[in-house]
């Protein structure tokens, strides 16, 4: 945001610049354009360089977080472009023959990019790229709990609970040695780092806002060799090694309240006191600073989580391409990957109060490991039967499986009885008991001594040791055979058939390797084993279920052990198998009826006999038509139709989807001094499906759920439709050789509708106009020195309902962004 004084300064600067323009125009003789590349000869090299730098002033009104989420272009000095091209005149430079080096964005823009290419004929080709992008993301409607205004207090969540401000730095280096030879070597390395602060949330008695520090790194190494000893045949072998490491930390730093003893407390971000979230009366005393929280409310006193996933992804790949056999072109590859991701040191600790389970926190840990073993192969052949007739066959095989395992080591913490009058909820001490010291700390029934953990009947096990085993796999085979016929040199058509077979398998199993239920609680009695008989070990007809053992000395009930694991209650070890077969007809036409007209059309009609999800289509129809017409050399008219129709409209699903796009574009270039480009795109997106959900007390949704046995009592036809119009136009005009003016506009006009489950939900991204006009002027003020000034406007104008009645008011989504840039470009 600019101050008033700064705005005046910018205004004066713009005025001076505007006055400077005509004066300069009069003073200079036009001898060329700012686009004309200048080059100098330096030794054996032809060298072209240009640099453009300047200042951008950004004046933003409205929702700055949205502007930064969408554009994030701020004020400051910027390097808009620096390009260096060097070319050996005789293609025989000492170290290189060609060098291209380009950069933009440095100085504070969200996207900074450097690209470098150096090559020397026959010897090497080296490419490097550095990309740094800032990801500021705070669109406040995502994950917003939409707290009601009627809540006491009413807490409006003005920032997205999942906002972030991260930076990603990506480096890619690729070197090809002896690119022209029969034996070619390729080496590559990529290094990607993504880091920065953000926020996340957690499920619990209430949902706390947690600060998450993102940091993950990927290092990828590539080595390959191409053999070209066989005529018209290339065989390639690649070894790819990727390593991933993540070091995110998550902590609760959002302590906006205190308890009566001064302990900072977090009541979460969901405030709906009528719905007892975080409780009916969360603030015990609003006059203190900060306000005093009610101790029996759901809340957090501390939370932290750390884990360091480490992944390795080795891949071997063998590929070939050959034209050796007459009239037969072939290519293919086979690859094997064995990925592994392990987290040896996951640790989570929460000090909290959950009223439903009377829990005072938990710790979670235990090593986890998952693998992904993948085998992929493909083959494609194009056989020319006659001069006009081709048959093309493409086969692809992809098989992967992901076994995973987690050995959990969890403890659930419970409070002691009140140590002082009035002590409750978050103020209660946490019982410091372990299986080893339990009999000492809490020696006798009914286990309600000062240090004994106190449970409710629904409390989870105190100690949880489980072995989690998961498995997911897919086996895919697909083959496409096409006949391609050239009716004339200007008309070709394709007719094809695609068959795909997929088998998806999953398997989940959890085994107890040591669950322990400590006794103790206000409802403890001898008849319920002093509340140790709960959860999996709840009494059945007055007796412990099989697998649960009561220790008569400590009163602890245990279930399973490392040497005698027991299936977790409800364990479903059956393997799920889903088979899907798709048959599809493919049609294609490409035609050049005249030299001025080019047409192509692609159609696909597919049918799947099953679907993996409710919105995976059983019926697929794709219609793509594209045309380009050039009536005269400087006029080009293009049009496209792109329609996707997907359906899974079986009983109780009723899923229909379509994505229909129609586009037109016209380009006019009557002479080098005038150029125009304008177009329009219309897209209509629609999806629907029957859904079931719970909404107790609803007067809006009263239709019984169409799905038998669904836990959701209400059903509805969910729908989402979006009608998007996109218009754009650019006009470039060079009134004199030294001056280039450009005017442009692009606008996205989106109107939509959807099913609103929550009456407090704003229309959000359903209705808005997003327009981006721009004007720029460039003139050469001296030989090879060009002054540029540009104005870019970004206007997001919300057209829907921003704050429905009853919602704790959120900031408006609108913003108006004016960016003015002043720059100099020098070619040397």
């Amino acid at each position: 945001m600019r101050t008033q004084a700064q705005r005046k300064l910018v205004g004066w600067f713009a005025l001076i610049a505007a006055l400077f323009v005509p004066w300069t125009l009069r003073a200079q003789q036009s001898t060329g354009t700012e686009q004309s590349p200048k080059s100098v000869q330096s030794g054996d090299y032809n060298v072209q360089q240009s640099i453009e730098f300047g200042y951008r002033d950004s004046i933003i009104d409205g929702n700055i977080n949205n502007y930064d989420t969408f554009e994030n272009l701020g004020s400051g000095v910027r390097l808009f472009d620096y390009t260096l091209n060097m070319r050996s005149k005789n293609h025989n430079g000492l170290f290189f023959d060609n060098l291209t080096f380009s950069n933009f964005g440095y100085g504070g823009d969200p996207n900074d990019v450097t690209r470098l290419q150096i090559d020397k004929n026959k010897f090497y080709d080296f490419r490097a790229m550095f990309r740094r992008d800032k990801n500021f993301w705070d669109y406040n409607l995502l994950a917003n709990p939409l707290n009601p205004a009627s809540s006491v207090p009413a807490l409006a969540i003005v920032n997205s609970p999942h906002s972030m401000d991260t930076v990603r730095r990506m480096q890619d280096y690729d070197l090809t040695l002896f690119p022209e030879s029969r034996l070619r070597f390729r080496l590559g390395y990529s290094h990607n780092v993504n880091e920065g602060p953000g926020f996340t949330t957690l499920d619990g008695g209430t949902e706390p806002l947690l600060a998450e520090e993102y940091h993950y790194t990927t290092n990828a190494y590539r080595a390959g060799v191409d053999f070209r000893f066989l005529p018209k045949t290339t065989i390639s072998y690649d070894e790819l090694l990727t390593y991933f490491k993540q070091d995110n930390t998550v902590t609760d730093q959002n302590f906006l309240y205190v308890l009566s003893d001064g302990t900072p407390a977090d009541l979460g971000i969901v405030f709906n006191t009528q719905g007892n979230t975080p409780c009916a009366v969360p603030i015990a005393n609003a006059t203190t600073t900060p306000p005093t929280a009610t101790a029996t409310c759901n809340g957090y006193l501390a939370y932290n989580r750390i884990g360091r996933p480490r992944g390795s992804f080795p891949t071997e790949r063998l590929a070939f391409q050959s034209n050796y056999v007459k009239n037969l072109e072939m290519s293919g590859a086979i690859a094997y990957s064995s990925d592994e991701d392990s987290v040896p040191d996951f640790s989570e600790f929460m000090n909290s109060w959950t009223s439903r389970t009377a829990s005072r926190g938990a710790t979670t840990g235990g090593p986890a490991k998952a693998k992904r073993v993948s085998v992929g192969a493909n083959w494609a052949g194009d056989y020319q039967i006659t001069e006009k007739l081709h048959v093309v066959d493409e086969f692809r095989y992809a098989n992967w499986r992901i076994p995973g395992m987690w050995a959990t080591a969890d403890t659930n913490l419970y409070p002691t009885p009140p140590a002082a009058p009035g002590q409750a909820g978050m103020l209660l001490p946490i019982a410091q008991v372990t299986p080893a010291n339990f009999s000492t700390v809490c020696p006798t029934a009914p286990y309600n001594g000062p240090n004994c953990p106190q449970h409710s009947a629904s409390a989870a096990a105190d100690v949880v040791n489980e072995l989690v085993s998961r498995f997911l796999a897919q086996n895919l085979k697909t083959n496409t055979a096409e006949l391609e016929y050239a009716f004339t040199p200007r008309l070709r058509a394709r007719l094809g058939y695609m068959y795909t077979s997929r088998t998806i398998a999953d398997f989940n199993a959890t085994f107890d390797t040591g669950e322990m239920y400590f006794p103790g609680g206000s409802t403890a009695s001898a008849t319920n084993d002093y509340l140790a008989a709960r959860g999996d070990c709840a009494l059945v007809a007055g007796a412990l279920p099989a697998g649960c053992t009561l220790d008569p000395v400590t009163g602890i009930i245990s279930e399973g052990s490392p040497t005698s694991p027991l299936p977790e209650a409800g364990n479903d070890t059956s393997r799920g198998i889903t088979d899907i077969h798709e048959n599809a007809l493919i049609l294609g036409i490409s035609a050049n009826p005249t030299d001025k007209l080019r047409l192509s059309a692609d159609f696909r009609f597919g049918y799947n006999d099953n679907s993996f999800t409710r919105i995976s289509p059983r019926q697929v129809q794709v219609y793509k038509i594209q045309a380009t017409y050039t009536p005269i050399s400087w006029v080009s008219i293009g049009g496209a139709i792109d329609i996707h129709e997907n359906r899974d409209n079986v009983l109780t699903v009723n899923n229909l989807q379509h994505d229909r796009g129609f586009s037109l574009v016209t380009t006019l270039a009557p002479n080098p001094r005038v150029w125009a480009d304008f177009g329009y795109d219309y897209t209509n997106f629609y999806t629907q499906a029957d859904i079931c959900f719970a909404e107790p007390g609803s007067t809006v949704f009263t239709t019984p759920c169409p799905v038998a046995g669904s836990p959701g009592p209400l059903g509805a036809l969910s729908f989402y439709k979006s009608t998007d119009h996109f218009v754009y136009g650019d006009l470039m005009w060079m009134p004199v050789k030294r001056v280039t003016a450009m005017v442009g506009y692009s606008g996205s006009i989106v109107r939509g509708d959807t099913l609103f489950l929550n009456a407090l939900q704003p229309t959000g991204p359903l209705d808005f106009n997003y327009i981006k006009p721009n004007v720029s002027l460039a003139f050469e003020i001296y030989k090879d020195l060009t002054y540029k000034t540009a104005w870019n406007y970004y206007g997001y104008n919300y057209k829907g309902i921003a704050n429905p009645a009853g919602l704790a008011a959120l900031p408006l989504q609108d913003f108006n962004g004016n960016n003015v840039t002043f720059s100099l470009r020098y070619a040397f």
């Binding site: 060609n98 669109y139 192509s600 899923n655 909404e695 799905v707 959701g712």
Partner: protein, 313 residues
């Protein structure tokens, strides 16, 4: 797995047979030198004129070609004049030099069909890793030739001799994508951070939409979004089975995080309604009106988790 091993073994065996069988055939092949030359080129060296002869009349074309990477064809002494200079692409020109009106022996790109043009270019370029899957090229099948995007003589981009820079080049035909990338939520293609060719190989891949793959044969998305790749103990199965596009529209949408729907809950409920075995229905304690505006408020690790079957952490 047994079938997989059998299949892999068969494929490797096929390749070995092909390679081992090949030397004998290669000798025969070498005897017929015409096979290594472009199909439309005449095979006797006498009919080649050399690039300098072309320069006399086609000075502008020669000048642009001389500055381009294609100049290096003149260094190709191993494969002879049919792979050198102007005639490497345009065919033997001796007859044309003798009689400029005689273009019968030349390969004229403006007269050739897209398939002929592609075949012409692939004589040299087929062996590069970018072009090895050219048979699968959807561009080629739709009549888009190499010279639709590349111009050896009139390129505006030194790198790859493109006729226009990305993404404008791609937007020339892919009109709908231009609108998608102008949406508030989009991948930063217009900004120059990401290029179309980062995700797609315009020359063809074995995957749908000419998509590239990650190094470990997974979705190309994971090259940048590495934290979503896993593998996880608790996979959100749809991510791996149906891919990222089950929930996201990759180019750009009106919706945050490139989601297909404006409301996260509806997106989740479309699958998580208990009429389908693969996705459990939403439990009855999820009151859609009272509190949970977004499922991802609690299910934050929705792409996969190692420590929560409900993707809480």
């Amino acid at each position: 797995m047994g079938r997989v091993k059998v299949f892999n073994s068969a494929l490797v065996l096929t390749l070995l047979i092909f390679v081992s069988w090949h030397p004998a055939a290669a000798q025969a092949q070498q005897a017929d030198s015409s096979k290594s030359a472009p199909q439309t080129a005449t095979t006797t060296p006498e009919k080649y004129a050399g690039a300098d002869a072309c320069k006399v009349c086609h000075a502008d074309e020669y000048s642009s070609w001389e500055k381009s990477p294609h100049w290096k064809t003149t260094l190709n002494t191993r494969q002879g004049p049919s792979h050198q200079g102007c005639e490497a692409c345009h065919g033997a020109a001796a007859n044309h030099v003798a009689d400029p009106s005689n273009t019968s022996g030349l390969f004229l790109f403006e007269k050739a069909s897209p398939k002929e043009i592609n075949a012409r270019c692939l004589v040299c370029h087929a062996s590069s890793t970018e072009h090895m899957q050219a048979i699968n090229s959807l561009h080629a099948k739709n009549g888009v030739s190499c010279t639709s995007c590349h111009s050896p003589h009139h390129a505006t981009q030194a790198q790859f001799l493109l006729v226009k820079p990305q993404p404008q080049l791609c937007f020339s035909c892919h009109l709908k994508e231009r609108a998608q990338f102008a949406m508030p939520f989009h991948h930063r293609v217009n900004e120059g951070l990401v290029q179309c060719t980062d995700c797609h190989n315009p020359h063809g891949t074995e995957r749908p939409h000419q998509l590239r793959a990650s190094a470990s044969q997974d979705a190309v998305c994971f090259k940048c979004h590495a934290d979503k790749q896993g593998p996880f103990v608790y996979e959100h199965e749809v991510v791996k089975v149906e891919g990222c596009t089950a929930c996201h529209t990759p180019h750009g949408t009106p919706n945050p995080h490139l989601l297909k729907l404006s409301n996260v809950n509806l997106l989740c409920l479309q699958c998580h309604t208990a009429s389908f075995a693969n996705a459990p229905g939403a439990p009855s304690f999820h009151n859609q009106a009272a509190q949970f505006q977004a499922c991802t408020l609690c299910h934050t690790q929705i792409h996969g988790s190692n420590f929560s079957s409900f993707f809480f952490k």
